[in-house]
């Protein structure tokens, strides 16, 4: 092993241990940063000779990454992944440094880092889920991201792209790749897709998920992976995929995951069974039970995420706690709350909380949703539980969600 790499890897471990001891986060990013500073090619070294699968998109990255990891374990004896939510290079390095034995790697990738990961991580497969507005003060506008993905893919040979045929921005990005598998991955939120990414034309959505630009040749490619009920049709045959995770968006994530896993050579039936069995990902949809309360914890951090999640929440009548923060990982501008149609919460007990409860309160006021407010999220959950048989639906954006999942005891 070259001395530089060896030193870099040792540093990652040491800094992570130190950072954990100091109580600074989960100690996943600091070590990775130091490692990359010592050896900028560390990620390439750590992924060499491994089967690498990347996952990116605005919504569903974490879930799909976990589903793919579960599917890959039916084919590879040792699979490494960044399941801590650290989806930038320092997090990738930290997740891989103690995984010498891993045969396969699946990495969730922040949308902005897709070009860099394509260049540095020796990927065999990349899964592109969707692109929509998210933290516009911090991230790029979605058309810019689609263009950067497209440019990067056109420079990268030998990679198998598994792409959502239902999202015009993803299709535009993936069309430049040499090998693409098109999946009918669904698109709940179409508000960001009306302007054609290829020309200044208009994307027109037709029946049966078809779409086409009215001014150029960009149109929905025929997907080879589709799902009807629980039955998946694919070039590898038909297979049942009985998804436990709630919501149609999780069925889409599962379909994308299955296509990605089989692209590595894994057997479809076994992979489908493994993907079906996943019940909760990184605490999402998990029930946090305490004396007198049973809170279902959900994450929604942008309009598309909310549109998908409201479909799940609408099925229940329990009190809802909504928590909105605007810390670094959340973005500083919660204007997007006005892009969410909260009207389905009108007849529910709703409590608003989080750093930005005032923004949320004004938004719900104009949406005709009666609500009360509670500065402390835990108090909000307790009050909501007291207003019912103890069951509560909790929905938070990124750090608001983390706050309650981490307060587990």
């Amino acid at each position: 092993m070259p001395i530089r790499r060896s030193l870099a890897m040792k540093s990652v471990g040491l800094v992570n241990q130190l950072s954990q001891k100091l109580g600074r986060g989960q100690g996943t990013v600091a070590g990775g940063r130091v490692g990359l500073a010592i050896d900028p090619h560390l990620l390439g070294d750590l992924t060499a000779n491994k089967c690498v699968v990347l996952v990116s998109g605005t919504n569903g990255k974490t879930t799909t990454t976990a589903l793919i990891a579960s599917g890959l374990r039916t084919h590879f004896s040792n699979v490494a992944t960044n399941d801590t939510g650290s989806n930038m290079p320092a997090g990738h390095v930290a997740a891989l440094v103690d995984e010498e034995e891993a045969q396969a790697v699946v990495l969730e990738v922040d949308e902005n880092y897709v070009p860099r990961l394509l260049e540095t991580s020796n990927p065999a497969v990349i899964t592109l889920l969707n692109l929509s507005r998210d933290q516009l003060d911090r991230m790029s506008e979605v058309r810019m991201l689609a263009q950067r993905w497209r440019d990067a893919l056109s420079r990268t040979g030998g990679i198998h792209v598994v792409a959502n045929a239902d999202d015009p921005l993803v299709v535009y990005a993936a069309f430049s790749a040499s090998e693409v598998t098109w999946v009918a991955g669904g698109l709940v939120w179409k508000e960001d897709a009306a302007g054609c990414p290829q020309c200044s034309g208009h994307i027109v959505f037709g029946k049966n998920e078809t779409w086409a630009c009215d001014s150029c040749d960009l149109a929905r490619p025929e997907p080879t992976w589709t799902m009807k009920g629980n039955l998946v049709h694919s070039p590898l045959g038909a297979v049942h995929l009985n998804v436990i995770l709630p919501g149609s968006f999780n069925r889409s994530n599962s379909l994308m995951a299955l296509a990605a896993v089989t692209a590595t050579g894994a057997e479809i039936t076994k992979a489908a069974r493994a993907i079906s069995s996943v019940e909760s990902v990184a605490g999402r949809f998990q029930h946090r039970r305490r004396p007198g309360q049973d809170a279902r914890l959900m994450l929604a951090k942008n309009p598309a995420g909310w549109a998908a999640l409201l479909e799940v929440v609408e099925e229940s009548a329990t009190p809802v706690v909504v928590s909105i923060n605007s810390r670094t990982a959340d973005g500083a501008d919660p204007s997007w709350l006005f892009d969410v149609d909260f009207s389905s919460l009108r007849n529910r007990v709703v409590i608003v909380t989080g750093d930005r409860w005032r923004d949320l309160s004004v938004r719900l006021h104009y949406g005709g949703v009666d609500h009360s407010r509670e500065a402390d999220p835990e108090m909000a959950i307790t009050r909501a539980a007291n207003a019912s048989d103890g069951t509560v639906d909790f929905i938070g954006n990124y750090t608001a969600f983390q706050e309650v999942t981490r307060a587990r005891s």
Binding site: R133, L136, D137, E141, V142, R143, M144, E191, D192, A194, G195, C196, P197, S200, G201, H202, V204, A332, D333, S335, W336, L337, F338, D339, R358, D359, S361, V362, R363, H365, Y366, G367, G368
Partner: protein, 251 residues
Amino acid sequence: MTLRIVAVYPDLLGTYGDTGNAEILGRRASWRGIDVDVLHASSADPLPRGDLYCLGGGEDGPQVLAAQRLKDDGTLRSALEEGAVVFAVCAGFQIVGNSFPDAQGTLHNGLGLLDVATRKGTGSRCVGEVVVEFDALEHGGLGLPLLTGFENHAGLTTLGPSARRLGQVRHGTGNGGGDSSEGAFQDRILGTYLHGPVLARNPALADLLLTWATGGGELQELDDSREIALREERLLSATRATNREGFARKP
């Protein structure tokens, strides 16, 4: 008579929750017993006639498309000439002006309804909280309480002789043309860079637009306690940021 509020092309100009502005205006009208209709006008259809048009933010490509469609359609111009009110935010603000840049910086003709011109900035995007002090009534301004919102734009806008600024920027960038101005108005058209959406944080501005659209009569008072709580918190947060930056600049 029904007050007709039109959200213009939310499919192209609705990026930062700005469609909320039309929703807020509609609610504030209906809470006062005004018969109101809020329409979401898709860019695929002819623009309907309305009393109050709202345009929001958008990305570079869709912005060019929206400007072209509005120009070809012609309804916005004729409605304005017949007394309709136009409220335009960010990309919408740039479109109703004389010219605006695309992603490459190439200038496109705007609708020429508001005497402002926008060019591409040379520095980084202007992103963050903004506080603006409206010009006073006696100086020809609108005399409203402090304007608060969130900006996120790369364009720099300068005003021509027919347009007046909304006011002076106290925190943030605003128009960015070097004169510390923010927004512009001219007759019944008003533009600003602020999101939030801006009317959620500035009920007085919402009511000014409603007054213009309904013929100038006094509007019934509403309970704005939630909006005031939000305003105060945002203004305080901007003041703290100003103080921090102020201290940091000291040698």
